[in-house]
């Protein structure tokens, strides 16, 4: 899994790419979110535009990150979902949990 971090004011954008899957990607996103919180960034936006696949462990870790960030008083939101990842969020009904955006400016304005 690939990742890149951008900070825009109080918001940390975490760009993810490749596979978010068991044993690698799932652990990595937990580390990225923990690092953001350690850096005092509680408003987090995952850019999933380059994510090729996400398994149930990856989805589960995103849910765990959402819970962790929310408990700290922050927000974790998603943008640039591929149609397949959007399908997965739909069938798991997690689309009702996460705020999802297609446009970065709109996503940033929502925090």
């Amino acid at each position: 899994m690939k990742s890149n971090i951008r900070d825009l004011g109080d918001i940390r954008i975490i760009e993810l790419g490749g596979k978010i899957t068991i044993g690698t990607g799932d652990v990595k996103i937990r580390e990225l979110v923990n690092q953001a919180l350690e850096d005092g960034k509680k408003e987090i936006l995952f850019d999933l535009g380059d994510v090729k696949a996400i398994d149930s462990s990856g989805i589960g870790e995103m849910v765990a990150c959402y819970t962790t960030v929310t408990k700290r008083g922050g927000h974790l939101k998603l943008m640039h979902l591929s149609p397949k990842i959007n399908d997965i969020l739909q069938v798991t009904q997690l689309i009702t949990v996460f705020d999802v955006f297609d446009d970065e400016r709109e996503a940033l304005g929502s925090f």
């Binding site: 696949a53 398994d55 149930s56 589960g60 399908d87 069938v91 009904q93």
Partner: protein, 148 residues
């Protein structure tokens, strides 16, 4: 599109998560040789990865000495996958529905749900040694590349 009659493959992998990639590549290779369209790969491999991950983590407790045995077959428009572990078995009825409101924020418990969403047929059997065999089918016509 041409689907050849029947192609089969068997693998036995040690219980390491990195071997999920091996299982995926072997399945896709078989599907290409059988003429299965690549548009279907995503949902097929997603279900496979969940079954193998469950066998490694829950069945074989990530013990690399225990094997995950895989059987693939592609016949006409149906892909059949069997994933067998060396664990002590489980009852899939005990796994709660991850889409129930009280389970939505659980970080685990979606693997079997994924398999059932993305495959045409999924069933669980006990192996003679007490482990679990997951049998899955995906029919090309039934799913048409979509998870619904």
């Amino acid at each position: 599109m041409t689907i050849n009659n029947t192609l089969k493959a068997n693998l036995a992998l040690s219980s390491r998560f990195e071997n999920i990639e091996v299982a995926e590549r072997a399945l896709l290779d078989l599907c290409r040789r059988a003429g299965w369209p690549s548009e279907d790969d995503y949902w097929l491999t997603t279900a496979l990865r969940e079954a193998v991950a469950n066998a490694i983590r829950h069945g074989n407790q990530q013990d690399p000495k225990r094997l995950v045995r895989l059987e693939y077959s592609v016949h006409d428009s149906t892909v059949r996958i069997s994933v067998e572990d060396e664990g002590s078995g489980f009852d899939p009825a005990d796994v709660p529905n991850p889409t129930d409101a009280e389970n939505l924020l659980r970080p685990s418990g979606r693997g079997i749900f994924y398999m059932r969403q993305f495959m045409s047929h999924v069933e669980f059997r006990s192996t003679p040694s007490g482990g679990t065999a997951v049998l899955m089918e995906r029919k090309l016509e039934a799913t048409d590349g979509n998870p619904d």
